[in-house]
């Protein structure tokens, strides 16, 4: 970095500075670039494709990729690209909702337990451990089977409510070690309230850590949703990347050589989760002023 900027000593400078380094970080740009492209495909694709349902039978069966059908067609003559575009949307929704719910719960419990300590910590920790040892997949199976109606939102909610414990433990441990640093005491001596100490002194110190937690939860939710879809407990209507994989397996796409049926959804799941990891490494460099200088 050859240029040094002289900015006024104000509170907002931190954010502006983070942005300055963010737009110059290749890892971050590549990671977010890939996610953004896939996200936009999922968001805008369906609008451009017209109103037809992704499960419509539109062409001859088992057509390989062509100009007409970019990703070919399924055994039944459904357009794989249309399914892929709609599937991306569902998958992002499941990941964002599930990951988001889990992240909010994990942060609330982790910060409070870590900062307060004592009895509050013991109780919250006990709750976390109980949820941690619940066999999540088995419970999800039972709940999904019992409820009958299965929407993407409901699926994401269950994933969110069961996947937070490890993140809460990680945030609690990190908060615990930051709490005993003198700058927290000094903030208290400056008359800063507990809530603001958590959000403005402790959380910024672990912002990349928190983002990584969210990414892992996000990726995890996508994977859990895909697994549930794959074993036939996904949404009963619509299409998702996991459902596409399930259908492909069920109709022996691998044995029939229909690689265009299962490669795109599999690759997209891998790409989203992988790109988020790369972006996270970049974010660490953006948020930590010490890493910028090396």
């Amino acid at each position: 970095m050859t240029t040094t900027t002289t900015l006024p000593a104000e509170e907002r400078v931190v954010r502006r500075e983070a942005l300055y380094f963010a737009v110059r970080n290749t890892k971050l740009l590549i990671g977010f670039g890939i996610v953004l492209v896939l996200l936009l495909t999922g968001l805008l694709g369906p609008l451009l494709l017209g109103g037809e349902s992704p499960n419509e039978y539109v062409a001859g069966p088992m057509l390989p990729p062509s100009g007409e059908h970019w990703f070919g067609t399924t055994t039944f003559g459904q357009d794989v690209f249309t399914q892929f575009v709609y599937g991306l949307r569902t998958t992002f929704l499941a990941g964002a909702m599930g990951g988001g719910i889990a992240a909010v719960i994990a942060m609330a419990i982790g910060f409070v337990a870590g900062y307060r300590g004592g009895l509050v910590d013991e109780i919250l920790n006990m709750l976390t451990n109980v949820v941690l040892v619940i066999p999540t997949l088995a419970v999800l199976l039972i709940i999904n089977a019992y409820l009958g109606i299965r929407s993407v939102g409901l699926q994401a909610l269950f994933i969110g409510l069961t996947s937070w414990p490890w993140a809460a433990r990680a945030i609690r441990a990190q908060t615990f070690s930051l709490r005993s640093r003198d700058f927290v005491d000094l903030a208290r001596l400056s008359g800063v309230s507990t809530r603001r100490i958590i959000t403005r002194e402790i959380a910024p110190n672990m912002s990349s850590y928190l983002f990584m937690t969210f990414i892992l939860l996000f990726g995890g939710s996508i994977l859990i949703a895909a697994s549930l879809d794959f074993i036939g407990l996904g949404p009963t209507e619509g299409v998702s990347l996991g459902l596409m994989l399930q259908n492909a397996t069920q109709w022996s796409a691998l044995q029939l050589g229909l690689w265009w049926w299962f490669v795109p959804p599999g690759a997209a799941i891998t790409a989203v989760v992988g790109a988020l990891y790369v972006a996270n490494v970049g974010l660490d460099e953006v948020f930590n002023p010490k890493l910028r200088e090396t």
Partner: protein
């Protein structure tokens, strides 16, 4: 001004607080305006715990601490007049923010109405007061500044408030010799301004250099306290003598501390607590544990 009266701190340790550990045991002393009192003791003597209790960062188990007759109450009003500077300057700054943030927090809490330009001028003048060049230290990250600069910035931060009492907890232990004397002279200046300073240290010579009165702490109890000159020239308690003989001297090699004779405390008829051996010079029993 600061009055510490019969203060005890018991920590609960073990699972669900099954065991207890007494860190500070029935300690009483006071600090007057314009006076430096040094609180001397070895590691684990409870001196930092006392400092934190006065700052309201650690709750008191029993006894009372008052500043100008008002009990310790952690919050904006209390911290307007009572401030602390801690041992490790590197840990006092949030590493992801610039060092100026410590001033910004003071502005947000206490002077939200002051215009930005005037505030900047106040900060710069406080920084000049601690003999730093504002242009050199402002707008930098903590890791770009030295320990001495950071420690002096923390004192400048305290100067921005209407301070009555400063708790200086081992503030020179991380500094090199030349910066150390600068910081000590700063404390002496604060004293001249009428502030009370509680100087917590394990370094006897620094305490002697600065303080009017000295309190010697051992295992959480006061063993001797009084005017610095008396405590240092005529130590009555064997622990104080041992401490003083442990100070390295420039022109003499190390020698064993003189053995303790009979206990002065009982000879003079002391019963519990401290005995006033001379006016303003208090001493505790030599056999603290089986007294």
């Amino acid at each position: 001004m600061l009055k510490v009266d019969n203060v005890t701190k018991v920590y609960k340790v073990g699972t669900f607080g099954g065991k207890t550990m007494t860190a500070v045991d029935a300690v009483s002393f006071d600090v007057r305006p314009g006076e430096v009192v040094s609180l001397i003791g070895e590691s684990g003597s409870g001196k930092s715990t006392l400092g934190k209790m006065i700052l309201g960062l650690v709750p008191i188990t029993s006894g009372s601490i008052t500043v100008d007759g008002v009990a310790v109450k952690p919050g904006k009003e209390y911290y307007r007049s009572v401030q602390g500077v801690f041992q490790d300057p590197f840990s006092c700054y949030n590493p992801v923010f610039k060092a100026d943030r410590v001033f910004q927090l003071i502005k947000e809490s206490y002077y939200p109405a002051v215009p930005a330009a005037e505030w900047t001028e106040r900060v710069r003048s406080a920084i000049r007061d601690v003999r730093l060049n504002p242009d050199e230290v402002l707008g930098k990250f903590p890791h770009q500044l030295s320990g001495g600069q950071l420690q002096r910035l923390l004192i400048a931060r305290a100067l921005l408030l209407d301070l009555k009492l400063l708790i200086a907890d081992e503030i020179t232990s991380m500094l090199d010799a030349s910066t150390r004397i600068d910081v000590l002279n700063l404390l002496a200046e604060l004293k001249a301004r009428g502030l009370g300073v509680l100087y917590v240290t394990h370094d006897l010579s620094l305490g002697h250099y600065l303080a009017e009165r000295t309190v010697v702490l051992r295992h959480g109890t006061v063993v001797e306290m009084g005017v610095t000159a008396k405590v240092f020239d005529d130590p009555l308690h064997p622990y104080t003598r041992q401490l003083l003989s442990a100070v390295p001297r420039l022109h003499a090699p190390w020698e064993e501390a003189a053995p303790v004779g009979s206990c002065l405390y009982h000879e003079r008829g002391g019963t519990g607590g401290l005995l006033e051996a001379d006016p303003g010079h208090f001493v505790a029993c030599a056999q603290l544990s089986n007294c």
